[in-house]
């Protein structure tokens, strides 16, 4: 596994940094609802470090997967063979997710606002959009029912960190409450981007900058955000991946660099 030269060396890539940062945030969590890609890396690394025994639940119905290879989609056959359970979609969305069994849901988005609401539907007007995006999938349900939500967004721009969403596909709990609906969880608590980490404690809070990655300034992040981003009392600098974390990521989690591109 560690036979190929240079695997453990080399500079830290953005994917590696984001995976490591997200993995650390999973300390103590037991169940994660995740898609494929960076969340996969983060969860697998967390399982080997801060969250032993953590279980990934996939939108496709797989619980407790033990894949022989790194999966390429949430429905990859390698996730099913050898899994602990595969359940129907009514059971997955109804009993597992809405039933409140998910500690952390991972989501991505085209746009996020300061309250952690997400847009994955359209850029422009819904009726005749400039860009038609895929839509919710299960994101509306993950936000409404997971105890908390982590968002991973590589690109950090004023367009994606928007003052106003073009369309709110997936509302945070503050919007839900304003609509008279009580969500189970607190919505987005962590947003990991190429520039740093935003955090939000719970209902009524907005996202604040809590950390910048090495070499990134607070001013850069504020300029890259479409709203007037507030900062935590003291903005930390992200602790770079440790050699141990990098070795696990590169040698055990994704030796073929499927996602560590």
């Amino acid at each position: 596994m560690s036979g190929r030269p240079g695997r453990g060396a080399g500079p830290v890539t953005a994917s590696e940094l984001l995976s490591v940062v997200a993995a650390r945030e999973l300390a103590g969590r037991r169940t994660v609802f995740a898609g494929i890609g960076l969340p996969t890396l983060a969860v697998e690394l967390a399982a080997l470090t801060v969250a032993p025994g953590i279980e990934v639940v996939y939108e496709s119905g797989v619980c407790g997967a033990h894949p022989s290879r790194l999966p390429e989609t949430i429905a990859d056959a390698v996730l099913i063979t050898g899994a602990e359970a595969v359940v129907s979609m009514p059971a997955l969305f109804g009993s597992v997710l809405q039933g409140g069994h998910i500690d952390v849901g991972f989501l991505g988005a085209a746009q996020i606002d300061r309250w952690g609401s997400l847009n994955t539907s359209v850029i422009g007007e819904w009726e005749r959009p400039a860009v038609r995006l895929p839509g919710s999938g299960g994101a509306v349900e993950v936000m409404a029912n997971a105890r908390e939500v982590f968002v991973v967004m590589r690109r950090h721009t004023p367009r994606s960190f928007a003052a106003a969403l073009d369309f709110c596909t997936t509302p945070g709990p503050d919007r839900a409450l304003a609509d008279g609906i009580r969500p189970l969880g607190v919505g987005v608590t962590r947003v990991v981007t190429e520039l740093g980490v935003l955090a939000r404690d719970g209902i009524g809070d907005e996202l604040r900058l809590v950390a910048v990655h090495p070499g990134v300034t607070v001013a850069q992040v504020l300029a890259a955000t479409g709203w007037e981003l507030r900062t935590a009392g003291r903005v930390a600098t992200t602790e770079p991946p440790t050699p141990a974390e990098l070795r696990l990521l590169r040698e055990d989690v994704d030796p073929d660099r499927v996602y560590l591109r």
């Binding site: 279980e55 619980c63 790194l70 056959a77 099913i80 899994a83 602990e84």
Partner: protein, 320 residues
């Protein structure tokens, strides 16, 4: 990137004795769901609740049958939520009838539903819904004696274009659900075949869940057939190994139903003294279910033995 099988190590191991599971998870005054529709009835768990002398329980069970009659007779139960209170097709439940018909020796609060009403309550409980609609109860007297059964007006027009009403039931969220199953791994991934009833929903509806199994199997056995896992580990708090724990009901592929015992229960339960003696001999008089099984004797179990009828194997495939 194969993760170590039990990264959780001992933390992921939920196997405890039935005594410990009941001591830890069933408390006086709790709402306790015992499910298993004729198949896989968690009798041994009911007996252990009796041995430990729990009081003031609300028992939730679709088909309240022998084990419920026994728990009633032992004084564990203050309230019963059910959709069928009878000894299968074999006769009556003496204690239950005395409690309801004559408050003898004390009254029993009874909440009556239909089977699908109960199923919908479990589904709503499992899915954290405030209510579940169903096309039953129109014109029934049940809503008049059960204020839990209510009506909602659909926000969509009915087939005749006018507003449409439908009955709904409230969720049930037991403090603890106990079910019996054929097998599980140490983390609680539970596999059931044959009649699967409402066990998965009853487990998901509960705050705590105890799974009692005929046998504990290696992780590899469970993971060879993930679709057979009806109850994933994340929903389970305790795994108890208790062979023959569903007697007098059956465990598909393990042992058959003890129809003679069902038939005998009407007479036993009709006489409070005889019922008391039965409990003394078979429940209080045995330290645990293993003793109950031993006391029955090998010949007894041989009569309930079943032959083999294998399911055959399907291929889940592996990447080449």
């Amino acid at each position: 990137m194969e993760r170590t099988t039990d990264a959780g190590g001992a933390a992921g191991d939920k196997v405890v004795s039935l005594r410990e599971a009941v001591a830890r998870h069933v408390r006086d005054g709790d709402t306790v769901s015992l499910e298993g529709f004729t198949h896989l009835i968690p009798t041994a768990a009911g007996h252990e609740i009796i041995r430990q002398g729990r009081r003031g329980l609300t028992v939730v069970r679709m088909t309240a049958d022998i084990v419920v009659d026994q728990m009633l007779a032992a004084g564990c139960v203050a309230r019963l939520v059910s959709s069928f209170v009878g000894n299968s097709s074999a006769g009556s439940l003496g204690e239950l009838r005395r409690r309801i018909e004559r408050a003898d020796p004390e009254p029993l609060e009874f909440e009556e539903y239909s089977h699908y009403g109960m199923v919908c309550r479990y589904v709503a409980g499992a899915q954290r819904l405030p209510f579940h609609p169903l096309r039953s109860y129109g014109g029934s007297d049940l809503p008049s004696v059960n204020p839990g059964i209510r009506k909602v007006t659909s926000p969509y027009p009915g087939p005749d274009g006018r507003p449409e009403q439908i009955y709904v039931v409230p969720p049930v969220n037991p403090d603890v659900t106990i079910v019996h199953a054929q097998r599980a791994d140490r983390r609680g991934n539970t596999q059931i075949w044959g009649l699967t009833g409402v066990q998965a929903e009853a487990v998901y509806a509960a705050d705590r869940a105890v799974v009692v199994v005929e046998e504990l199997v290696a992780d590899e056995v469970v993971r060879a057939d993930p679709n057979r896992t009806l109850i994933p580990a994340h929903a389970v708090d305790a795994v108890v190994v208790c062979p023959r724990g569903a007697h007098p009901s059956f465990a598909q592929g393990y042992y058959d139903r003890d129809n003679a015992f069902y038939r005998s229960w009407s007479a036993i339960s009709a006489d409070p003294a005889r019922l008391r003696a039965w409990l003394e001999e078979w429940v209080y008089g045995t330290a645990d279910h293993a003793e109950y099984v031993a006391k029955r004797g090998e010949e007894f179990w041989a009569r309930l033995a079943v032959g083999e009828a294998l399911s055959g194997s399907v291929d889940y495939g592996r990447r080449l």
